[in-house]
């Protein structure tokens, strides 16, 4: 696959590098890379891969652009709010580099469709914000023989690693199983420094380009961590586990499956989503005694302020403490932003509660409503 005159001009700075050169640039042109999640990580990685001339670039995301994304998701502009992320990304990346082919996958990755999405790509960049998807993507890459560059972020901290089939350990060799539902907060819950995914997404794109060109050392068997506050990079060695459930000598995961903490959309549709005004009116009404307010934040957050009558069961303890919630009442789960409470609903559904409720938007939304009502509610920051 030869480079056209316009490509020779565009990629001149790559062609000057002996480690890339014309042969490397032609490999980039032939490469097929898919980015899972057009979010904080997927934005910079996709932009750099497109700019670098990766010939076929897939973008997988089923979300719409939200104004709160713009603080870090640099693929999107204010005018894109409400539009499909995958489609906006396709437009932006094609505008950046019309020489490449960008494919938008506006789908939610599940065990049932991931083979189909990944089959036409050689390298996968995982930048999803869902733990369940992270494990699904890893398992699919192992089974389909795809290279995977994985990264994740939290507040001021990020981590990255690379898996190449038959050359080193997979993500499950490092972290064999996902944490219990909701014990790892999402960006919405915990907050994230806007520039942080720029660093990690840049590392992912670098890893992908080196794999394609065939130069340098990869993060195979090495976990790289980055602490933006301390401005410290560190790396930790880890080895393939012979007992790894997916890449081990006798794998127990032989078919793709959605990890158990993923609540089915059908089940989640039974969750009653209450606005602060609805919850307020229910608490003031005659049926208040039929509600059990369960605050699923950490005890430290609960101590700062909580709704009157609320009981504290941190979401990480929900699975083993769900029996403490009386039967015959409607549990109303409450957290900071409405994410952990939804996870608690999933646990309750799995434990037989027919129709749990949660406070949509969490106590942040409650505090805003309180402000409008000239009362005050203090929401604790996360550590």
């Amino acid at each position: 696959m030869f480079l056209t005159p316009s490509e020779l001009e565009r990629y001149q700075r790559h062609l000057s590098l002996a480690e890339v050169g014309q042969a490397g640039q032609e490999k980039l042109k032939r490469a097929r890379v898919v980015v899972i999640g057009a979010g904080g990580l997927g934005s910079p990685s996709a932009l750099y891969l497109a700019a670098s001339g990766v010939g076929t670039l897939g973008i997988v995301d089923c979300d719409r652009v939200d104004v709160t994304n713009l603080q870090r998701q640099i693929l999107f502009a204010t005018a894109d709010v409400g539009r499909a992320k995958a489609e906006v990304a396709r437009e932006r990346l094609s505008a950046l580099n019309p020489e490449i082919r960008v494919i938008a996958h506006d789908v939610e990755l599940r065990a049932t469709n991931i083979r189909d999405v990944l089959k036409d790509y050689d390298i996968v960049l995982d930048g999803t914000d869902r733990m369940a998807t992270r494990y699904l993507v890893n398992d699919a890459c192992v089974m389909l023989g795809k290279s995977l560059v994985s990264a994740a972020i939290h507040r001021f901290e990020g981590q990255a690693l690379t898996y190449v089939p038959d050359r080193g350990p997979c993500y499950r060799c490092l972290f064999p199983e996902p944490p219990a539902a909701g014990t790892v907060p999402s960006c919405a819950d915990a907050g994230v420094l806007g520039v942080l995914p720029g660093v990690l997404g840049g590392i992912q794109a670098t890893e992908a380009i080196k794999l394609i060109v065939g130069t340098g050392d990869s993060l195979i068997g090495r976990l790289m961590t980055y602490d933006a506050l301390a401005m410290r990079f560190q790396e930790f060695q880890f080895a393939r586990r012979m007992d790894c459930a997916v890449c081990g000598d006798r794998p127990t995961i032989t078919a793709l499956r959605d990890p158990p903490e993923v609540c089915s959309p059908e089940a989640l549709s039974r969750v009653r989503r209450l606005t602060p005004a609805q919850l307020q009116s229910m608490l003031a009404g005659s049926d208040a005694a039929m509600l059990a307010l369960i605050d699923v934040r950490e005890p430290r957050e609960f101590a700062v302020d909580h709704l009157a009558g609320a009981r504290n069961i941190p979401v990480g303890e929900m699975s083993r403490r769900v029996a403490e919630i009386p039967r015959g009442v409607t549990p109303v789960f409450i957290c900071r932003s409405g994410s952990r409470s939804l996870t608690a609903c999933a646990v309750a559904l799995n434990s037989g509660f027919a129709a749990p409720a949660h406070l949509e938007g969490g106590l942040l939304a409650w505090a805003k409503q309180a402000q409008r009502d000239n009362t005050r509610f203090e929401v604790a920051d996360l550590a």
């Binding site: 999640g37 979010g39 904080g40 990580l41 997927g42 995982d126 930048g127 999803t128 914000d129 869902r130 733990m131 992270r134 990264a151 994740a152 972020i153 939290h154 507040r155 001021f156 901290e157 990020g158 981590q159 490092l174 972290f175 064999p176 199983e177 996902p178 944490p179 014990t183 790892v184 907060p185 999402s186 960006c187 915990a190 994230v192 995914p197 976990l223 961590t225 602490d227 506050l229 301390a230 560190q234 790396e235 930790f236 060695q237 880890f238 080895a239 950490e298 005890p299 430290r300 957050e301 990480g316 996360l382 550590a383």
Partner: protein
Amino acid sequence: MACTVRIASPLRSYTNGAAATDASGATIGEVLADLDRRFPGMRFRMIDEQNRIRPHIRLFVNTQAAGDLSAPVRTGDVVHLICALSGG
């Protein structure tokens, strides 16, 4: 044995936000017990009822993974508590 413990950000709610702390113990298990005395509940986030390291947690002594709680810790070592992160 005195060591430094570096704490992954999801666990810092137990340490009042501190990213690192000093601890003592000759093994990872003793270091975590020392931490739990000062930061109650922290150990349970990393170690289950059967004294196994939870599968989304990895503990490293300097740059080497600790397979279980008996991994030795020496004076001056840095113990890293690493969590699987999910943000993207």
